[in-house]
């Protein structure tokens, strides 16, 4: 009996390994490359691209063109007429006078990152409830006659603002205990529950 059981179990393990390899070969095209500093995990994600006919002049003057603004509204990042009520009120709006556009050259160093491409930084001045400072949101780059719009990711803000907002130079602890403090509160309760579980399972006969 026992050699027959061993054979079916080993066959099952082999089938599991082959299935997992096939699934990972199918899914590998979407994963970011190892060591890429412009991948969506690390810095920014590409939203859409627009033809750049006469929009560069208005960007240099400091005004966001209407086509880009309506596309951003349709995607649901800011409240507006085309997307009303689909986002909560915590997101700031891109009205006149609420944002700032600044051109940054290629190769400048800002907050621990290197700008590998030159472009315009769109930062929003007011709108968040508790952090009333200009925050970077979008990044516009021009190449091949098209304007590509990117959106910044959360680690960019943490590495730039951790010294000002929390006075701690350890970005991992400030992300764990300050920006995400409530998650850690729950995980600590899980650790205490694990210790109590071991006590209930093992102790007996009046030792508890």
């Amino acid at each position: 009996m026992i050699p027959r059981q061993m054979k079916t179990l080993t066959l099952f393990g082999l089938i599991t390994a082959i299935l997992l390899t096939a699934v990972s070969l199918y899914a590998i095209e979407d994963l970011p490359a190892f060591g890429d500093e412009n991948s969506p995990v690390n810095k920014q994600i590409e939203l859409f691209s627009v033809d750049a006919d006469g929009l560069v002049d208005s960007l240099n003057a400091g005004v966001l063109p209407a086509e880009i603004k309506t596309r951003i509204e349709e995607m649901g990042f800011i409240p507006g007429p085309t997307c009303q009520g689909c986002q909560n009120e915590n997101y700031p709006s891109l009205e006149e006078g609420n944002y700032e556009i600044e051109y940054i050259q290629e190769g400048t160093w800002l907050g621990g990152r290197v700008y590998t491409k030159g472009g315009w930084d769109v930062s929003i001045l007011e709108g968040e409830i508790y952090y009333n400072e200009p925050q970077q949101y979008f990044f516009i780059n021009e190449s091949d006659g098209k304007l590509i719009v990117y959106r910044y990711n959360w680690p960019v803000r943490v590495t730039e603002r951790t010294e000002e907002e929390t006075a701690m130079i350890n970005a991992v602890t400030s992300g764990l205990a300050d920006y995400r403090g409530y998650d850690t509160m729950g995980e600590e309760t899980v650790i205490l529950t694990g210790a109590i579980g071991v006590i209930l399972l093992v102790r007996r006969r009046g030792r508890l």
Binding site: I28, R180, T184
Partner: protein, 149 residues
């Protein structure tokens, strides 16, 4: 064909290495018959998964593209990083996996306590023998018994 292989297999080698260890750990849980060896396989699986997620935060220049040394530093802010040309690594994967590591250690301890209980009740920790004893016990029409050890 050659471009596809280089771009998807050689440039993403962190994914393939951790996937091999995940497959080893997962098949250990399924194939082995001893309860302690299954627990060790589960611990291997969890460690390999944390390795994969933390490796997504790597920001140094890709070795296969530039053939230079990596120029990144851990995400602790220090002043001379700008002069030397270092870039800070991404702190987000470290933050999310740090509590996971400690929680996995705690749940392994609970699983070990369950294995101790099984040994006290049945006298063995091999899976086929435990199943045999349970089937015999049901045939004789037994009820749920107390944990007297």
């Amino acid at each position: 064909m050659m471009e596809w292989i280089i771009q998807h297999i050689l440039e993403k080698y962190n994914f393939w290495l951790s996937m091999i260890i995940i497959i080893i750990g997962l098949s250990a849980v399924v194939v082995k018959e001893n309860f302690l060896k299954k627990l060790i396989g589960l611990s291997i699986f969890q460690s390999a998964f944390f390795l994969w997620v933390v490796s997504l935060g790597d920001v140094g220049r890709n070795i296969l593209v530039t053939w230079g040394l990596k120029t990144q530093t851990p995400p602790i802010l220090w002043k001379e990083a700008e002069e030397m040309g270092y870039i800070y690594a991404n702190p987000l994967p470290h933050v999310l996996m740090l509590t996971g590591i400690v929680v996995s250690a705690a749940t392994t301890a609970v699983a070990l306590a369950i294995v101790i209980r099984i040994y006290q009740l049945y006298g063995t920790i091999e899976e086929p023998e435990v199943i045999e004893k349970e089937l015999e016990f049901e045939k004789k029409g037994g009820e749920v018994r107390n944990a007297s050890g």
